[in-house]
């Protein structure tokens, strides 16, 4: 090894500083990166801090598997060893007062470098109630601290790239100076939504640094099986408004200089940057993986050779920045710190079984004036589309922190595929109302990230052109549905997703389907489906004023239907989970919502006229939460129940309604519960097919007669 004498070091530093201007060569991978730090020029205090953080991180990384072996916890641990340089740099560049950080499941050192303590890391690893990421609710090794803008993210690789773009959008809209750092592995760029995120970030010039930590493997899948470019960031070479920097993620100085440069570019040039950091994965992907099954000894030795911590330590000694004794003292300090952190974490409380229902979804806005969501307002009837449009405008006037985006929602006189948002961009401007790319996942994913910027924000998105195009966004919806619970109530995605839903327009597949049966299976979101203009207005107002995510399904066949038009009080509000009796009756009950409410009312009228039957029609309005009390009350009143909805009978909402009744009001039933809904088929385009598949007044009437006569 080099035998530099201590008195030579100062001379060496001076020479380097002197020659820095002359030398334009950078041996690292991004020639334009300014060399702010080097082993010779970085001050000793900084080097000491870095070494301390790296030793602390590695001590915890090495210790994590022991918790599993002792059956204490940390059953998922993705070791970061080999990513040390870039993770240290991310955490050091991140400023929690101005920036937002989206770490991924391998980012232990990133989070330590950003300020998390050893105790906080261990409490996350062994899933304690005081885990700052989410009280032990999310998988171990998913480090976060939402109050510091270190976000709690999904396990789905790269999913948070869209959230990062959304937060970047919010920063830009609010004129906030800072950056979003989105950290992810190289395999994440095999995911389509990552491309959507980077496409959007570059198109909108968002202040985001996408850090790709490339260790060459997605679990056991080598990079060559993921994508053609060895440097995966080169897949994005064609994107405009983007700087791509490569760095050696194993090297502290190159990583630090590159991250500093990236932040500078984002702040000064106003466009996103990809930092592609080459790392090694010294260990297996996680503790459920055995890398010796697919990596030979030569490779394992090769990656161990480039242990970043060992390299940094050698440099500190070689260039006489520290003595062996000084480094050993730091290592001893870390050992003691980890020991104490371990003791504290072991003594920390576990989450309780009773806590599982905390923070599933935030408490909604409470209506004082309309506690049961009904009114006696007399006025000219307004169409359902008017009710939605006017409520949106009223809420946007009421709350300046409201935003709306989606496909087709704002282009001159057009306001959505059905013109529901007509006039909004003209009134509220393109900063608050704007088009989104045709990328449903991105629309919702950015809404999630946008609302992370500030809890006051309310985002309304038109989730897709038609509800049945929403499926690509299910990945983001499922993830968003977890957020409030997973973060132990620290983050609430405050979003209303509007979807033009249902059939009776001859649209066939992707234009005439309805998707609430799938949606209500998700805890953590609300699902509402009005059938009249006033309820649409009232539910929408409540949804926008509430925290949490509401799926607002609009029966598009009723947008302009006179039968759905009603008077609407200007300030109308409908609480969630409140059904509305649209027709009183005593002989039987029909429980329904959406398009079929009107068919049920028509059938009830016919029953009255032709059979003198008194049929009660209950419009659920809100599917999740569901008004169990109203359901049970009507059963107790009539003893006979027909459940009707447009969605498929099999797997539809009606199954849950029937289950509630049989388990809680069986003794009140005088007949089997009957159901009418769509057949268990896709929906045909030809009107003949659509009529055969979807319920209609005649089918409902026939079933009602059968039930009445039972």
């Amino acid at each position: 090894m080099n035998k530099l004498k201590s008195n030579e070091i100062n001379q060496l530093v001076e020479e380097v500083l002197d020659s820095a201007e002359k030398s334009t060569v950078n041996h690292t991978q991004s020639p334009n990166v300014e060399r702010v730090h080097s082993i010779l020029t970085t001050d000793k205090a900084t080097l000491q801090k870095w070494f301390y953080l790296m030793v602390l991180g590695r001590a915890l990384d090495d210790r994590a598997p022991k918790y599993l072996k002792q059956a204490i916890g940390w059953s998922y641990h993705a070791p970061y060893a080999g990513h040390d340089g870039i993770q240290l740099a991310i955490g050091q560049v991140f400023d929690r007062n101005t920036d937002h950080l989206y770490p991924y499941y391998r980012d232990m050192l990133t989070c330590i470098s950003a300020g998390l303590t050893a105790e906080e890391i261990i409490c996350n690893g062994i899933s304690k109630a005081n885990d700052v990421a989410g009280g032990g609710r999310h998988m171990s090794n998913h480090f976060a601290k939402p109050e510091w803008n270190i976000h709690n993210v999904s396990s789905a690789t790269g999913n948070h790239a869209q959230h990062a773009a959304g937060t970047g959008r919010a920063m830009k809209k609010y004129g906030h100076r800072g950056v979003v750092i989105c950290s992810q592995g190289e395999s994440s760029v095999s995911e389509g939504y990552v491309y959507e995120a980077i496409n959007g970030a570059t198109n909108e010039k968002l202040p985001v640094i996408f850090v790709i930590q490339d260790n060459g493997y997605g679990i056991s899948v080598p990079k060559k099986d993921q994508t053609a470019n060895r440097r995966v960031s080169n897949n994005f070479r064609g994107f405009k408004n983007l700087t791509i920097l490569h760095c050696n993620g194993k090297d502290v100085f190159d990583s630090m200089n590159t991250m500093i440069a990236a932040k500078k570019i984002v702040l000064e040039e106003g466009h996103p940057v990809i930092v592609d950091a080459n790392c090694v994965r010294i260990h297996s992907h996680s503790n459920s993986d055995r890398h010796e099954l697919y990596r030979d000894d030569y490779e394992l030795n090769y990656v161990r050779e480039y242990d970043p911590l060992a390299k940094f330590r050698r440099l500190l000694l070689r260039y006489k920045r520290f003595t062996e004794e000084e480094l050993v003292a730091i290592e001893e300090q870390v050992k003691e710190e980890v020991k104490q952190a371990h003791n504290k974490a072991m003594a920390a409380p576990d989450p309780t079984p009773e806590s599982i229902f905390n923070f599933v979804i935030p408490e909604p806005y409470v209506s004082i004036k309309y506690p049961d969501g009904t009114h006696n307002f007399q006025g000219p009837p307004k169409k359902l589309i008017e009710g939605i449009n006017e409520t949106l405008k009223a809420e946007f006037r009421h709350n300046p922190d409201t935003f709306l985006w989606g496909q087709d929602v704002a282009n001159k006189d057009k306001g959505g595929i059905f013109n529901v948002t007509k006039g909004m961009q003209q009134e509220f401007g393109p900063e608050r109302v704007f088009n989104a790319p045709i990328a449903e996942d991105f629309i919702l994913g950015t809404a999630n990230g946008f609302s992370r910027f500030n809890d006051k924000i309310r985002v309304v998105v038109e989730g897709a052109e038609f509800a049945d195009y929403f499926w690509p966004a299910m990945e983001q919806l499922v993830d968003t549905s977890h957020d409030y619970w997973r973060s132990n109530g620290k983050f609430s995605p405050n979003i209303v997703v509007r979807l033009a839903s249902g059939g009776y327009i001859g649209g066939g597949l992707y234009h005439s389907q309805t998707i609430e049966g799938a949606l209500i299976t998700l805890p953590g979101i609300r699902v509402v489906y009005p059938s009249f203009a006033d309820d649409a207005a009232g539910l929408l107002r409540t949804a926008i004023r509430s925290r949490g995510l509401t799926m607002f399904l609009e029966p598009k066949a009723l947008y302009n239907a006179p039968k759905a038009a009603t008077p609407i009080p200007d300030d109308f509000e409908v609480p969630f989970g409140k059904a509305r009796i649209r027709r009183e009756g005593t002989d039987m009950s029909i429980i329904t919502y959406g398009n079929t409410t009107h068919m049920c009312l028509e059938a009830a009228e016919k029953m009255a006229k032709e059979h003198g039957a008194s049929v009660e029609v209950v419009d659920l309005r809100s599917l999740s939460p569901m008004d169990e009390e109203a359901i049970l009350n009507t059963v107790k009143k009539t003893g006979k129940v027909l459940i009707v909805h447009e969605d498929k009978v099999f797997g539809g909402v009606g199954g849950e309604v029937a289950a509630i009744i049989t388990s809680k009001a069986f003794e009140y039933l005088d007949a089997p519960i009957m159901r009418v809904g769509a057949t268990f088929t896709p929906i045909g385009f030809n009107r003949i097919l659509e009529n055969a598949i979807l319920p209609n007044t005649e089918k409902i009437y026939k079933a009602a007669i059968e039930l009445l006569e039972y």
């Binding site: 090894m1 080099n2 035998k3 530099l4 060496l12 020479e15 380097v16 020659s19 002359k22 030398s23 334009t24 060569v25 041996h27 991978q29 080097s38 082993i39 010779l40 490339d214 060559k224 470019n229 060895r230 440097r231 080169n234 490569h246 050696n248 090297d251 080459n278 090694v280 050779e305 480039y306 390299k311 050698r314 440099l315 070689r318 260039y319």
Partner: protein, 169 residues
């Protein structure tokens, strides 16, 4: 001809084989010192006018750590008057995007400190997409591909050594 230093990592296999063959082809007409790159320092480096550096490429276009750790010191040296030849292993099939980048990175470094890089070779006969060692149709050193063209190693090394005999002082 002045003494030559051949500097490479003694812990390597392929680089060491190539270094040994280079030394063999120089014969006994010149004094050659073998120096372990893992122990190289400035004073040792500065002793020689003619140097041959073994610089394989690691990962997706990086210097091996033993060279990388020498770089901060290397950047302080005045290499004016030195003739430096570089050879390096690369895999043009698996790593066509950064084939023998290490040679180019090292060449840039020593050139920036005043050294004359010698031993340029033709890039004909290789198939790759990009390389930091590629300059105007040539590599700024000798590219050796053990994985895909091992049969060409000996003739390439022989030819390169003959060239160095003329280019070294």
């Amino acid at each position: 001809m002045k003494d030559i230093a051949v500097i490479y990592s003694f812990n390597t296999r392929q680089t060491k084989n190539a270094a040994k063959e280079i030394i063999k082809h120089f014969g006994n007409a010149v004094k050659i010192d073998e120096i372990n790159a893992e122990e190289i320092d400035g004073p040792t480096f500065m002793k020689y006018t003619n140097l041959i550096l073994g610089v394989p490429t690691w990962f997706d276009g990086e210097l091996p750590n033993y060279w990388d750790e020498f770089v901060p010191e290397l950047e302080t040296l005045d290499l004016t008057g030195k003739n430096i030849a570089i050879f390096g292993n690369g895999d043009q099939v698996s790593y066509p995007e950064n084939f023998v980048d290490g040679i180019g990175i090292m060449a840039d470094l020593v050139q920036s400190r005043g050294a004359r890089v010698v031993g340029y070779t033709s890039a004909e006969g290789y198939r790759f997409e990009s390389s930091r060692a590629y300059r105007n149709g040539k590599f700024c050193g000798l590219a050796i591909d053990f994985e895909n063209q091992s049969e060409l190693n000996t003739p390439r090394i022989k030819k390169w050594v003959e060239q160095l005999k003329k280019e070294f002082e």
